[in-house]
Symmetry: C2
Subunit: 231 residues, 2 copies
DNA sequence: CGAATGATTGACCCCCTTCAAAAGCGGTGG
DNA sequence: CCACCGCTTTTGAAGGGGGTCAATCATTCG
């Protein structure tokens, strides 16, 4: 059967002759490696709500905040994307969320149309996308539980532990808060004042220690932090 | 709430010769049609957190609440799954959430291992799973924004509109609340008392009308309800 | 009917928000 | 070097939205 899509035709021809640039079963990472690298300054947007969804991005360096704003300006951060994370996946032609760099970052850009068309004939790739979205779904659900059910202190504890799991290994007890208090507040459904006060409270309880002008948090009592986060 | 996509043409194998039980490219719907139908009584569980993830389910009838419980009993409902929605997808071998019937329901059961192994060699199927999870991710994000940023009245309005979009067509202004107040509360991160009071408030504002002993809601002023939900 | 379950309503209180001010913390330039 | 400025964070005081506790009402079902 002849391939009908442009990309498939290309891959098919390439496989038959020369070494293909994009083989029928290249991995997601192979494809991403081919994307161009883009540098994003702090507070610059990777994409905005309403933009045509032309690309999918993989964070290489830095932190990207993915968020939704309401008409009156209220903002809910859905996720902080760290190196390795994919952002911009979806089924719609336009972005429903915005993505903004928390600090100077680098992202690899990959054509969404190409990627998703390729996935239509490459089960391996499609499965990878499926798994990536499943991971993201799990993270979003976790945040939903935190925001829907937990107190301010519990939310902060949960947030710090998530950062710790994602950044430092089990031994590294210091996590770097690249984001501002307002970002943490908008992630956890709190105000900056409450975030600040709650951090102070955790500090006074001897659970954490704040360094470097409030940008680094050292976990002093990991067990109590976990207890707080789960309760 | 993984909505499946429209049934596509049957695989060429099936059209060309006999119908195989599971052709290399059967659609998700074909596969689901082969699953056994299981009746679930109200309050009965489809699966529980910690159970081995042996099956994926598609709701055929009724409503299934997918939720997570904290150690102290607090509960966050992640989603109400309605007919057509898929539940139980994921990458882990065990369930991380629980699923419980809100009212007497019917679900179609499909072996998770079989489905996911089939997806590894069937791009078409894998893409369908990918899209289904994307849909669910979008819905979960929407709920997260609601719970993280909106007031009680706004949450209720958002909830009612979501139900309306899902159940009644644009013309049907009456939505059936199959679930109890406690379910709505646990979905929206409120208490049953607040849900009750807020419904009363919307009623006194002339936006909704409650019928059938509190189980049905008639939307009297759709525009004001939308205004509330988006604000 | 009477018991059980769920929904509503009331009174009180607390956690978090809001409003306001002060204090850090870099940068820039005189 | 330090004064100044903008930005962010911290801290304080006051108020409110929703939680908690408790009583009443409604509905269903044995």
């Amino acid at each position: 059967m002849l391939a009908t899509h442009p990309l498939e035709a290309r891959s098919y021809l390439q496989t038959a002759r020369e070494a293909p640039k994009i083989a029928p079963t290249t991995s997601l990472d192979d494809r991403l490696a081919q994307g161009t690298l883009r540098r994003i300054e702090a507070k610059e947007h990777v994409y905005c709500e309403g933009d045509p969804r032309t690309h999918v991005f993989q964070v290489e360096q830095g932190v990207i905040a993915v968020y939704k704003t309401l008409v009156d300006g209220r903002r809910q951060i859905i996720d902080f994307a760290y190196p390795g994370d994919l952002i911009g996946l979806g089924v719609l032609r336009e972005h429903v969320l915005s993505a903004q760099a928390v600090c100077t970052s680098k992202v690899r850009c990959l054509s969404a149309a190409t990627l998703e068309r390729a996935a239509e004939s490459d089960a391996n790739l499609a499965i990878k996308l499926y798994r990536a979205v499943c991971q993201e779904l799990a993270a979003t659900r976790h945040l939903l539980v935190t925001v829907g059910q937990r107190s301010a202190a519990e939310r902060l504890a949960s947030f710090l532990l998530t950062l710790h799991r994602r950044l430092g290994g089990p031994s590294n007890m210091t996590v770097d808060l690249a984001m501002r208090r307002s970002d943490i507040a908008d992630l956890l459904g709190l105000t900056i004042e409450t975030v600040s006060r709650t951090i102070a409270k955790l500090r006074s309880m001897g659970i954490i220690e704040v360094e470097h002008g409030g940008t680094k948090v050292h976990i002093r009592d990991f067990d109590r932090l976990e207890e707080l986060a789960s309760g």
